[in-house]
Amino acid sequence: MVCLRTITAVLAVFFLFQVPAVSAEVESPTAQLKPTLQQLVDILADPSLEGKDNKKKRRDLIMSTISKRFDFREMSKRVLGPTWRDISEQERQTFTTQMTKLLENNYIGQLENYSGETVEYVGERVKDDRAQVSTLIENKGNKYPVHYIMNMDSDKWMVYDINIEGVSLIRNYRAEFKSILRRQSFDGLIQTLREKNASFEQGG
């Protein structure tokens, strides 16, 4: 009896140590990013989702796929830069909601131009809790380097910037917002954002 209990205890201890050891084995940023991009390609290539009637359904599917791998709040924070420190939590949320819409529209718009380009994974860098996954997109013999910048959020690598041929998504928006904030108040910026997002709803 005692013997059995001892074994149980030993096993329990063994598993206790074993469990964290296993979960510490986090998948690499590339391994985490790949399935997301693959899912997006599958959605774009799915004939049952083509056509005008399915546009909304397809967009929703793309969105739910992206939101699992893209950290829109982190992007919003970085796009705003120092101003993020000066605004209230409520303003941050309003901004994040509007910024997410803009980024969604931007990204989905780009995705809808997709015409069978291939992606090669050419490298990965990890520095503490941040990572860079480098890819090469090939289209008609031309190759374009695209880098995904990610950070670690409880075992999940989340994308917070995309860099294409040196042009960074967040740095670009940040330069724009900085210029706008010099001329307008924060509320004015939110208003401009809302108007921009409304223009996508009208134009489809």
Partner: protein
């Protein structure tokens, strides 16, 4: 600038060759730039001053530039785009691609000289091989046989890049009518490239020159559609977005020259 725009053709998969993963923690891989060093990508909590001060682009001419930007915008939507649409409708894509190859082949001397100036002799050799193969087997450069049959990829180089490679500063931002975003160094580069381009020495009347550069431009637009439109559609201030994209793109081009193996 036009090339930027596959802006976010981020997707696609299929080919997934072995990934060169470096588990040592961020060194190695000379061929991919280390973007994690950029301060705007740092941890937000980082108190370093650079994080909060994004580098300013030198643009004292902004009011004038904005007017010219607006002019180019009108030019694009009122002239270039309608012409491009008609052009693409009349000429099949294959033909436009061949023409693109042809124009591209004619500018080989620019790439040859600048690769040489940057000490990239191996790349210069590739440029020369591509030119010879495409001009002969490719029939006046209409087909990119060098790429298709010999897997010789283009080796881009221009004079603006060469100047940057030798540490010459960018100078202030300029928006040229018709040509679009530029800066002093880039503009000098364009003039330099024009000087070594054989097209400049062809015996053409000014009408013929306009036709040549016009067709070149429209053909190029038809092959890389929507670049400017994308920028405009997704920015709150397209002027700033185009300016930032231009500088980042060109800085990357110069940085790439610096990273290339020189054969000195």
């Amino acid at each position: 600038m036009k090339r930027i725009i596959l802006l976010f053709m981020l997707v696609g998969l299929a080919a997934t060759p072995a990934i060169a993963v470096d588990d040592a923690g961020g060194e190695v891989q000379a061929d991919t730039p280390n973007l994690l060093e950029n301060s705007y990508l740092d941890d937000y909590e980082d108190t370093r001053e650079e994080f909060y001060t994004i580098e300013e682009i030198n643009d004292p001419l902004e009011p004038v530039n904005r007017v010219l930007f607006q002019f180019n915008d009108r030019l694009y939507f009122w002239v270039l785009k309608p012409v491009k649409t008609g052009y693409s409708y009349v000429l099949p894509a294959e033909l436009r691609e061949s023409l693109g190859n042809f124009f591209n082949n004619l500018s080989a001397p620019i790439r040859l000289i600048n690769n040489l100036l940057q000490g990239r002799f191996r790349d210069a050799g590739v440029v020369l091989s591509r030119f010879v193969i495409n001009s002969t087997a490719g029939v006046y450069g209409l087909a990119d046989v060098a790429l298709q049959e010999y897997n010789l990829e283009p080796r881009l180089a221009d004079f603006g890049q060469t100047l940057g490679f030798y540490g010459i500063g960018e100078g202030l931002y300029i928006v040229w009518p018709l040509l679009g975003p530029s800066n002093i160094r880039h503009s000098v580069g364009l003039v330099g490239d024009r000087l070594v381009s054989p097209v400049s020495y062809m015996d053409m009347t000014s009408d013929q020159s306009v036709l040549y550069y016009g067709v070149n431009r429209i053909n190029n637009l038809s092959l890389n559609p929507g670049v400017y439109e994308e920028i405009k559609k997704f920015s709150l201030d397209p002027y700033v977005a185009a300016r930032q994209s231009f500088f980042d793109f060109r800085r990357n081009v110069v940085k790439r020259a610096g990273n290339q193996e020189t054969d000195f």
